[in-house]
């Protein structure tokens, strides 16, 4: 079934540890995104990639990095996790970044930083 796969589903991580959240899509979408969702704050954009080889910063990029080596994969790395990064992380994609196609979401990764 075509879609977006995120891994892991959930993770408990000690503060200071490095963690990579994985995201793979098989829809050949050009644009990919990472959001975090927190109670009372909604979905906030962390980083995005309009096409393979390019990335950009969203609303809340500090403490996170991304790479886009190919069309399908868009990993999100926390270099040194802090408790404020406890959140649910959603990876999303759409055909292009032109704003005329809907965003499709993965099922999310629930991350707890202790």
């Amino acid at each position: 079934i075509a879609g977006i796969t995120q891994a892991p589903t959930s993770q408990i991580l000690a503060a200071g540890r490095r963690m990579t959240l994985r995201c793979t899509q098989d829809m050949r979408h050009n644009a990919m995104y990472w959001y975090r969702q927190d109670l009372g704050l909604g979905l906030r954009l962390i980083h995005y990639s309009n096409t393979a080889g390019t990335t950009g910063k969203g609303e809340v990029p500090d403490g996170y990095s991304v790479s886009r080596a190919n069309t399908d994969d868009f990993p999100l790395t926390l270099a040194s996790a802090v408790p404020s990064q406890t959140s649910v992380y959603f990876c999303a994609s759409r055909e292009t970044d032109r704003g005329n196609s809907p965003l499709h979401f993965g099922n999310g990764t629930r991350l707890t930083v202790t």
Partner: protein, 112 residues
Amino acid sequence: EDKVVQSPLSLVVHEGDTVTLNCSYEVTNFRSLLWYKQEKKAPTFLFMLTSSGIEKKSGRLSSILDKKELFSILNITATQTGDSAVYLCAVTSGAGSYQLTFGKGTKLSVIP
């Protein structure tokens, strides 16, 4: 800064009721407005609206956009318990590369 505001934040109704959810926005270079339904996991796409006054409809759900007054509504008629979810509104805007700004959502609870 782009803003998307949804109201109400939460709503409790009885099965069979009709509900209207609101979304207003202030963005630069509007492109489209999208509605999503989020139950336990990923938001699922409902509608994308780009033109004023044209209703989009899917079963008991419908939505319309007013680009002059900068808002959209999502209507759900004859609500069912399965409609209980958080409904998210998002606006695509920008220049060159279009990003989505999400509202905080409306939590709808439908009780039997």
